[in-house]
C-alpha cells in the first residue's frame, strides 16, 4: 500500500515513456530513423566515393551488388548511394534545426501573448492570423528566391518562418489556462517578475503539448525543405538534398529509373517513420486522443 502511494517517478514524462515503449509501431519507426541517421552521418566513412566525385568509367550505371556502385550512378558518374545518404543528412539537419528555431519562436511568441493578455495579446495573435491566411508556400518561395539562391541559412529561416505559427497558437492557449492556476498566483505573490514566471513556471508546464506538435513538425519541415529543393529553390547542385535528387530522378526516369526510385524510397521511408513516431509520441503524451 505504502509502495503504491509513494509511486516514485510517475510523472507525465515517465508515463509517456512507458506508453511509448509499448508501442511497437513507434519503436520500429524510431529504429528506422536512428538507422538512417547513423548511415547518413557515417556516409563519408562507408564508401570510397565522395558525393561529388565523378567516376568516368561508370556513367549512369545501373545498380548491382557486384558493381563498384551498389545503387548505381547518375549521368555524371556520381555514386547514388553516397549522394542519397548525403541528401538525407542535409535534409535531416535542416529540418531538425528549422523545427527547433520555429518551436523557439512559437513558444516565446505564444507564451508572451498569452501571459500579457489584453491588447498586446490581441495584436500579437492578429499578426499570427494574418500570416496564417497567407498562402504560406508563397512566402517561403519568395524569401528563398529573393535572397541568395541556394543559401542554406535563408532556406532554413524561410522554412522556420512558416512553422512557428501553429506552435504560437497552441502555446498561447495553454498559457491562458496555466496563468490562472494557483502556483502561478503563488509565484506572483512572492514577487516573481513576469519574465521569471514565464521562464520558470509557465514554459516548463506547456512542454507536453508542444512536444506532441514538435514530433510532427520535423517531418513537415523535411517535406518543406525537399519541396523547395525539388523546385530548384533550395539546396543546389552539386550538393545533394533528397528533394533535388528526386527532381533529377524524375527528369531521367525513362533512361535511369533507379535515379528516381532510390531517393524517393529513402525520402518516403524517412517521412513515414517520422510520422509514425510522431503519432506514437502524441498517443503516449495524450492518451485521450486515441
Amino acid at each position: 500500500m505504502t509502495e503504491l502511494l509513494a509511486g516514485e517517478g510517475r510523472g507525465l514524462w515517465s508515463d509517456a515513456r512507458r506508453r511509448l515503449g509499448c508501442n511497437r509501431m513507434a519503436l520500429t519507426a524510431l529504429a528506422v530513423i536512428v538507422l538512417l541517421a547513423c548511415l547518413a552521418a557515417l556516409a563519408p566513412l562507408l564508401s570510397p566515393w565522395a558525393y561529388d566525385s565523378l567516376d568516368w568509367r561508370h556513367l549512369a550505371a545501373p545498380p548491382g551488388l557486384t558493381a563498384s556502385h551498389w545503387l548505381g550512378t547518375d549521368r555524371l558518374g556520381r555514386d547514388l548511394l553516397v549522394r542519397t545518404l548525403y541528401g538525407a543528412r542535409l535534409s535531416l539537419v535542416i529540418s531538425v534545426v528549422a523545427s527547433a528555431v520555429s518551436l523557439a519562436i512559437g513558444i516565446a511568441w505564444g507564451s508572451i501573448a498569452g501571459y500579457a493578455g489584453g491588447r498586446t495579446d490581441a495584436w500579437m495573435m492578429r499578426c499570427v492570423d494574418v500570416l496564417y491566411s497567407l498562402p504560406y508556400l508563397f512566402i517561403v518561395i519568395i524569401l528563398t528566391t529573393l535572397f541568395r539562391r541556394g543559401s542554406i541559412t535563408v532556406l532554413l529561416l524561410g522554412v522556420a518562418a512558416v512553422g512557428w505559427l501553429t506552435t504560437a497558437r497552441i502555446v498561447r492557449g495553454q498559457t491562458l489556462a496555466l496563468k490562472r492556476r494557483e502556483f502561478v498566483e503563488a509565484a506572483r505573490a512572492t514577487g516573481a517578475t513576469p519574465w521569471d514566471i514565464l521562464r520558470r513556471h509557465i514554459v516548463p508546464n506547456l512542454l507536453g503539448p508542444v512536444a506532441v506538435y514538435a514530433a510532427l513538425t520535423v517531418p513537415q519541415m523535411i517535406m518543406f525543405e525537399t519541396f523547395l529543393s525539388f523546385l530548384g529553390l533550395g539546396v543546389q547542385e552539386p550538393n545533394a538534398s533528397l528533394g533535388n535528387l528526386v527532381y533529377v530522378g524524375a527528369q531521367e526516369m525513362e533512361s535511369a529509373p533507379w535515379l528516381l526510385i532510390v531517393p524517393a524510397a529513402v525520402l518516403a521511408l524517412l517521412l513515414i517513420s517520422l510520422n509514425l513516431f510522431g503519432d506514437g509520441v502524441r498517443d503516449a503524451l495524450d492518451p485521450r486522443e486515441r
Binding site: S133, L134, T226, L271, N275
Partner: protein, 307 residues
C-alpha cells in the same frame, strides 16, 4: 447570416492590404532587379526602361501607384514577358490550375469521406486497418514523390496514361496530376471523417436513437453523419487552398502549362508585377475558400450562430 457574410467579406480587405504591403516590401528590398540578368544593357537603355515602368520613382510613390492601379483591377505589365500584361498571363494559366485543384478536391471528397465512414462503422476490421494504413502513407508522402512514381508506373511501365505533357481538350493528361494532388487530401479527409464519426457514434443521443430501435443505417444517415461532417467541412476550405497552391508542384512534375511556373520563374526574374499578381490572386482565393468553409460550418452546426 447575410449581414455576417458581407461583414466577413469586407474583413478580407485589410488582410489583403497587409499581404500586398508585406510582399511588396520583401520583394523590393531584396537585392537585384528585373533588368539584371540581361547581358550588359547600356546604362541609357536601362534608365529608359526603368523610367518607362516607373521604377525610377521613390518606393513609397511606386507603392501608392501600384495600389491605385490595383483598385481599378489593373495588375500592370509583365517586366519580362513584355508583350503581355500580368492579367493576360494569369488568365491563360489559371483555368488549368483551378480545374486541376477543384477536380482534385472533388476526387478527394468522393474517395476520402466514404472511406472514412466505412472505416468508422467497420472499426477494427481489415478494411479499417487498410484505410488507416493507406492514409498514413498518403499523408506522409509529398506529391513530388508520388507524382513521378505514379508516372513511372502508369505511364512508363503500363502505358495506360501519358507520362507528362498537355494537350487542350484531352482529359487523359489530367488523370495522373489530379490523382497525385487528391491523394493526400483524400487521406486527410478519411482520417478526419473516421475520427469524428467514431466520436459521434459514442454520443448519448446516438445510443438513445439505437435504443428506440432505429436501424444502423437510419441512425447513421439521420443522426450521426451531419454532426460528424463538421470538422471535415472546416477542413475543406484549407483543402481547396492547398489543392490550388499544390497544383504548382504537380504542374511542375507533369509539365502542365498552369500558373505555377509564373511564381517561381517570376520571383527568380524579379518580375515584380507578375509575382505580386500571383500572390494577390492566390491570396484572394485562399481567403474566399476559408470564408466559404466558415459559412458552411455555420449552416451545418445550429450551435454556431452568426449575428
Amino acid at each position: 447570416m447575410l449581414g455576417y457574410a458581407l461583414r466577413r467579406l469586407l474583413g478580407i480587405l485589410p488582410t489583403l492590404l497587409v499581404i500586398i504591403t508585406v510582399s511588396f516590401c520583401v520583394m523590393r528590398l531584396a537585392p537585384g532587379g528585373p533588368f539584371d540578368a540581361e547581358q550588359a544593357l547600356p546604362p541609357s537603355v536601362r534608365a529608359n526602361l526603368e523610367r518607362a515602368y516607373g521604377l525610377d520613382q521613390p518606393l513609397p510613390l511606386q507603392y501608392l501607384r501600384y495600389l491605385g492601379r490595383l483598385a481599378h483591377g489593373d495588375l500592370g505589365p509583365s517586366l519580362r514577358q513584355r508583350d503581355f500584361t500580368v492579367s493576360e498571363l494569369i488568365a491563360t494559366g489559371l483555368p488549368l490550375s483551378v480545374t486541376l485543384g477543384l477536380a482534385a478536391v472533388l476526387l478527394a471528397v468522393l474517395l476520402g469521406i466514404p472511406a472514412g465512414v466505412l472505416a468508422a462503422i467497420r472499426r477494427g476490421s481489415g478494411l479499417d486497418h487498410g484505410v488507416t494504413t493507406l492514409a498514413v502513407l498518403a499523408i506522409a508522402l509529398p506529391s513530388f514523390v508520388t507524382g513521378p512514381l505514379l508516372a513511372l508506373i502508369f505511364g512508363l511501365y503500363l502505358h495506360w496514361l501519358p507520362v507528362a505533357g498537355w494537350e487542350a481538350g484531352e482529359p487523359r493528361y489530367l488523370v495522373l496530376p489530379v490523382l497525385t494532388l487528391a491523394l493526400p487530401i483524400a487521406a486527410y479527409l478519411a482520417r478526419l471523417m473516421r475520427g469524428s464519426l467514431l466520436e459521434v457514434l459514442r454520443a448519448p443521443y446516438v445510443r438513445s436513437a439505437r435504443a428506440r430501435g432505429l436501424g444502423g443505417a437510419r441512425v447513421l444517415w439521420r443522426h450521426a453523419l451531419r454532426p460528424a461532417l463538421l470538422p471535415v467541412v472546416s477542413y475543406l476550405g484549407p483543402a481547396v487552398a492547398f489543392a490550388v497552391t499544390g497544383s504548382l508542384v504537380v504542374e511542375t512534375v507533369f509539365g502542365l502549362p498552369g500558373t505555377g511556373r509564373y511564381l517561381v520563374q517570376g520571383a527568380i526574374d524579379r518580375d515584380y508585377p507578375l509575382v505580386m499578381g500571383m500572390i494577390i490572386v492566390y491570396a484572394v482565393f485562399t481567403l474566399l475558400c476559408n470564408l466559404l468553409a466558415d459559412l458552411l460550418y455555420g449552416w451545418l452546426d445550429p450551435g454556431v450562430r452568426h449575428d
